[in-house]
Symmetry: C2
Subunit: 406 residues, 2 copies
Amino acid sequence: MKVSPLAPTFYPEIPEIEGVRLASVEAGIKYKDRKDLCLIAFDKPAEIAGVFTKSKCPSAPVDWCRKHLGQGKASCVVINSGNANAFTGKKGADAAELTASTTAQLLGCSKKTVFLASTGVIGEPLDASGFADCLATAKSQLTLDGWHSAAQTIMTTDTYPKLATRQFKAGGRNFTLNGIAKGSGMIAPDMATMLSFLVTDLPVDHKVLQKLLARAIKPTFNAITVDSDTSTSDTVLLFSAGDGKNIKQANDERLRPLKSALAEVLHDLAMQVVRDGEGANKHVCIEVTGAANKRSARKIAASVANSPLVKTAIAGEDANWGRIIMAVGKAGEPAERDLLSIKFGDIIVARNGERDPDYNEDEVSRLMQKPEIDISIDLGLGKGSAKVWTCDLTREYVAINGDYRS
Amino acid sequence: MKVSPLAPTFYPEIPEIEGVRLASVEAGIKYKDRKDLCLIAFDKPAEIAGVFTKSKCPSAPVDWCRKHLGQGKASCVVINSGNANAFTGKKGADAAELTASTTAQLLGCSKKTVFLASTGVIGEPLDASGFADCLATAKSQLTLDGWHSAAQTIMTTDTYPKLATRQFKAGGRNFTLNGIAKGSGMIAPDMATMLSFLVTDLPVDHKVLQKLLARAIKPTFNAITVDSDTSTSDTVLLFSAGDGKNIKQANDERLRPLKSALAEVLHDLAMQVVRDGEGANKHVCIEVTGAANKRSARKIAASVANSPLVKTAIAGEDANWGRIIMAVGKAGEPAERDLLSIKFGDIIVARNGERDPDYNEDEVSRLMQKPEIDISIDLGLGKGSAKVWTCDLTREYVAINGDYRS
């Protein structure tokens, strides 16, 4: 498969985190000659936080994670690609249970501290009977520098692995936050989107960790959309695998740099997911300002970002702002046609309910040829603002998704 | 442009309706060498009912129609293609006013009884200064058998004209209901979709007519979707141009056959719109049963019908029911994975939360090659049911909408 034209030009060096080991192996779940099963294990139990899909039909691993998240401790996470173990009924729950208990036995931990994530085709039974051998191999290969391989292993229709890292100082010491993620279809805002796993060595209690993650996810993973479709398997897990006493107060000063790092890593990964949207040629930022309130701004931005007509126009490098009006109008939120203004990049194309008199089609057309497109919509009503990131809708999207399973 | 493979194999004969005259002329609004301005005139004022887009940014003609619908009388309707006169600010309102007053002067009627509809590009000013001459020509060419030409004149990206007719008996006399419509993009359920104009010669008061139309629109035009996008210009107008005393009681027996005819004509036109969906190769019916209630069933059916992943799978002739689960799950409505069952045509592919044990991929694949695909989803929860019709999402959709304006 052709690598996305929006792929990063280089991959970051992901530093090792003491006590966090990764291994990736071939389990032959669906793909041939590639790794598809990843184990991330903690030398001692890590604190865990998680956010999951809002789908009413979540996968068996999502059910499993939700059930055991509350106790806040994780020994490891097992991730497979090629099969989502979703809509697989009792068999699916059994496969999740089997994977967890097999792993628990291997690592000598409680199965309740084994977390799971699966991604790939929905509805096919996941045969986990061979996982014991694969996981034994994985255990023997656990290594501190397995991050890049892990990011590759969890890919499905992704065309490049997604990694991000930040270093930060807290209480006079150096800490790290590493993250990996996978896209690339069934990506929609307003829920914990796709799979992503993040680990920091700053020691933070799981309850505090959960608050940080829930807050940081909103303007990042929950503000991107590839195709408005929501996976049954969306899972973001954040682990604190640090030595020392856990931070238990949400107002602890040492959390401030972690919050910044978390915001940056999640933003970085979220942008990588959008830029690897199926068939994407353009990275688009929709910024709405002047809305009645923040919720309204988000809804309007999402309406524009999810509109097939807007997205196909961008694919065609056509600054068709009429379709933006259409998408603002259909959002059902307060909007006054005669107060609306629209910019592509820094160019005002419409204001006060009509085309800007100085509008220059050639100038805008040149802008539309760039790989990054910023669209700003000011409603002129209030102070609500929001950003949503998306990509264009291309023939390749249709080709990829018309042929994905067969 | 290639005609939709789902186009009708023949067009119905549209009978004349006494007192209803149509003319179509070339106004050169956008297209060359084709008619783009249509006048439908009533010998004596007709009763009128209308439903319009729910967009918060409606076009100037929609504003105009809404303003004058209440008095219930129509002398004529003027429809142009090539320019939607939407987001055109005061200029747009002026163009609508000018069109109405020019027509009123020509026909010798009040401008308040002139109704307007425009379809085409959004945001371009509509120059109506030349309409006086064009409408004078149209007036001189008004004819009882102008239905087919009118249906052609209002087309934009439609690949065929949309016409339907029914005859019915009421109070021992024969009556007719004729309708025309245009699609083909920006089609979404739950609002009065696209343009459609219907005329009957059964004399019915506009208040009763409005009730009939509002009710009949729900399971027809409001239950179709091409791309989930909602036009700024959606307008459906129903006229009663009959001689004799208007029916004023909603329970009048003579309305029963009109209701049936209206349901049939609207269904017929709505299906024609879906089958001419931009790039469509498949006509898809999504039927949801067993939902918590009707509203919930409609929302789930729309979620499936609007899902790009479901629609691209159908384009690829892939019975990817996993994506249907995904779309059910993302609707946010009550759904129990383990009670769900899914059928393609008569073939059960999934039940009780997993793939049906007798599922035969070859059998389903053969079914997917047909141009009409029925997908049934039973939620096993309650008695709510709904149908939504849609088409597949193809490379051609992207091509048409990436190049439409430029």
